[in-house]
Symmetry: C2
Subunit: 411 residues, 2 copies
């Protein structure tokens, strides 16, 4: 993979120019993109800033996030050729830092579950996951050092784990969702894909102007190991990766204990769909009314059904989720853990391209709005990852814990 920090180190050392860094990216794209299909459009001749902390760093933008000078097509024929007026704030900020918005990356239609044409660069014959398929695949294939994605269910963490990249879903609204096509205003979250945790932390710190986020030298985190009993049973390979990460962290000095969550969290987990779909049919009302036939089958069926969710069910779900959000920090504190170590998906990416895989291991964390980081677990087969979760606003701790596990696994 292309490391953002390595490219920047080369530029700062004078061994690489900004244009040279971009040329490396272009070479990688030329080599890998024909097989991976992660990109929707490419800026043929971007301005390459020579100043700014991200000067020379090319980034990809999931195609549900607005860009002023590249089309933004939502993975849907309904938006074919669509050109927004403005850059989304996250894109504008990366550009202001010197980053180069080189490519739009594939997305499932409106970031739902109908698969894209993108292939998993590190697991032939298996889905790259979704909905941020292109961003995950492009970074994991070494084509881009940084890409923006979005998560409403498990759309950053799952594809990152399936493809073997680092994925970060920050705390809700740490990155503004302005200029992102909305599916669910309560859940939609912008996230990042990079080659390493340090790369992700650097990008997030710059994006948010919060230098603390990349202070990764924390003491060993107290880890709560969670196999959620409210999800279906994970696959043996997923469980083995989780156990391996826990053992590596423990051997590296982190106290690890088994964690289970109060029943409130099982209840909240079960309400993700109520909130997502109640908001989705409203957020996509124009598309569903005027372009229903052009929507892909999974999305169309989901929106068709969503109109019957009672307002009272939505209100009740919001109340449960509010209680779960409020208490999560205390739950961890009472258990004596700083972060949760859990699965990002049931196991390796499923065979075939008919599905983007199972988001159930992500939905609770998206609901809670808490920071999540997935880290690849090295191995011989298709990529596997583990996921670190921290309380709301503790993005620095989630990243530090992920960096700790990443180091522990690399020993």
């Amino acid at each position: 993979m292309l490391s953002l920090l390595s490219l920047r180190a080369g530029i700062e050392a004078g061994t690489l120019t900004q244009a040279g860094a971009l040329a490396l990216v272009r070479e990688a794209i030329a080599a890998r993109e024909p097989d991976v299909g992660a990109l929707v459009s490419l800026d043929p001749d971007p301005v390459v800033p020579t100043k700014g902390p991200l000067a020379g760093i090319a980034f990809g933008v999931k195609d549900v996030i607005d860009t002023a000078d590249l089309p933004t097509q939502m993975g849907s024929a309904v938006y074919a050729g669509w050109r927004p007026r403005a850059d989304a704030p996250a894109v504008a900020r990366l550009r202001a830092l010197g980053g180069v918005a080189l490519a739009k990356t594939t997305t499932t239609a409106f970031a739902f579950m109908d698969p894209t044409e993108t292939r998993n660069p590190n697991a032939p014959g298996r889905t790259p996951g979704g909905s941020s398929a292109g961003s995950a695949a492009a970074v994991a294939a070494g084509m881009l050092p940084l890409a923006l994605g979005t998560q409403t269910g498990g759309s950053v963490i799952r594809p990152a784990a399936f493809c073997g990249a680092v994925g970060v879903k920050p705390s809700f609204r740490l990155l503004p969702t302005v200029g992102m096509k909305c599916f669910s205003w309560t859940l939609d979250t912008l996230g990042l894909f990079t080659a390493s945790v340090a790369d992700a932390a650097h990008a997030l710190a710059l994006l948010t102007d919060r230098p603390d986020i990349e202070r990764l030298d924390d003491a060993p985190p107290r880890i709560g190991l969670l196999v959620p009993d409210f999800c279906p049973s994970p696959d043996p390979d997923g469980l083995a990766a989780l156990r391996r990460a826990a053992e590596a962290a423990e051997a590296f000095g982190a106290p690890v204990r088994d964690l289970s969550l109060p029943s409130l969290y099982r209840e909240a987990f079960g309400l993700h769909g109520t909130i997502q779909d109640f908001e989705g049919i409203r957020a996509l009302a124009w598309e569903h009314t005027h372009h229903r036939a052009a929507l892909p089958p999974l999305l169309r069926a989901q929106l068709d059904a969503a109109g019957t969710i009672p307002v009272a069910a939505y209100d009740a779900a919001r109340r449960v989720v509010r209680a779960a959000r409020r208490d999560f920090r205390t739950v961890l504190k009472d258990e004596g853990v700083d972060v949760v170590l859990t699965l990002p998906a049931p196991g390796v990416a499923p065979h075939g391209y008919g599905s983007t895989g199972d988001s159930r291991f992500n939905r609770l964390w998206t609901l809670l709005g808490v920071p999540c980081v997935t880290v690849p677990v090295p191995g011989d087969g298709p990529p596997l990852g583990v996921q670190m979760v921290a309380p709301f606003g503790e993005d620095a701790h989630a990243l530090a814990a992920a960096a700790f596990v990443e180091r522990a696994l690399s020993r």
Copy 2:
């Protein structure tokens, strides 16, 4: 003014067709618009549905809210002629109910404070207020029975009061802000302008599919009369209107007591600008970076200064506001009141067109995300109003209390 419910009653009684209702609106626009200047664009030949609970009801859409078939220009040359792809969900919903999106209404640039060309239809020589100037003026001039606006500081309630219309700012996110140009994702709220409280309640109930919202036959509300000590002194005319409304409500059977809020609310009030501007410079990053010279002076200066707000100040402000939001219901309960009766502005609209007036009497309520309704107080001079405020989610109570005060004042 044109009453939504009266038009609908005529249609249901068969004395008016849907096309006839629209013709009344067109006649009113032809008569008043040359003097008022509330409209940016007008659909010359809209489809007029004959089915649906709002069939035949023309509505206006503030020009920061997306419409698929009318330009959406944000009150700014930067968006001259801009055509969004989709209708915002609130617009799509009104259309699905049979409403006719007849006109876009003027907005200050990006819904900030630089005045529009719109004139106050009921107070010659005075500002109509802002930022939803066109929506307030169009309804108050009797040109439209319904218009959508937005409020980040006081942009619905203040112009409604200045122009003599009913204005409703519902609970935060009761109406999705999807498809609205974002200024502050923590504060932006969609709202409505109508001729009466019953009209507003009917529209809001339909928009949200919450019939309870228009059940206005509540018992007399227990009213807390608030002259905020954290705002500058109101004008004598504003205070007199407030006193008149309180006396009328009391004479009509509502218990009224003086209310003061804990110091937490003064503190929160003072932090509105921190949150608004911190988010505003991010939400409008593309515009500020690429079109700074095209921004009007008040907005440009505000955004120029906003870049220096420390992240820590924003975080601290969010924490104070979270505490204030959490406790507001309890504060009212402990005081034994159901709703707050307070000022929507210091007094009548200021003379001249150099300012849109003072939003300070609205900022706290926008920060708290609580429902607000302003009701005109009948009189001989320029329009004056009073504002009813209820705890979060109690939009039905805010509207019922406003309807109660409206009835009390009309006796």
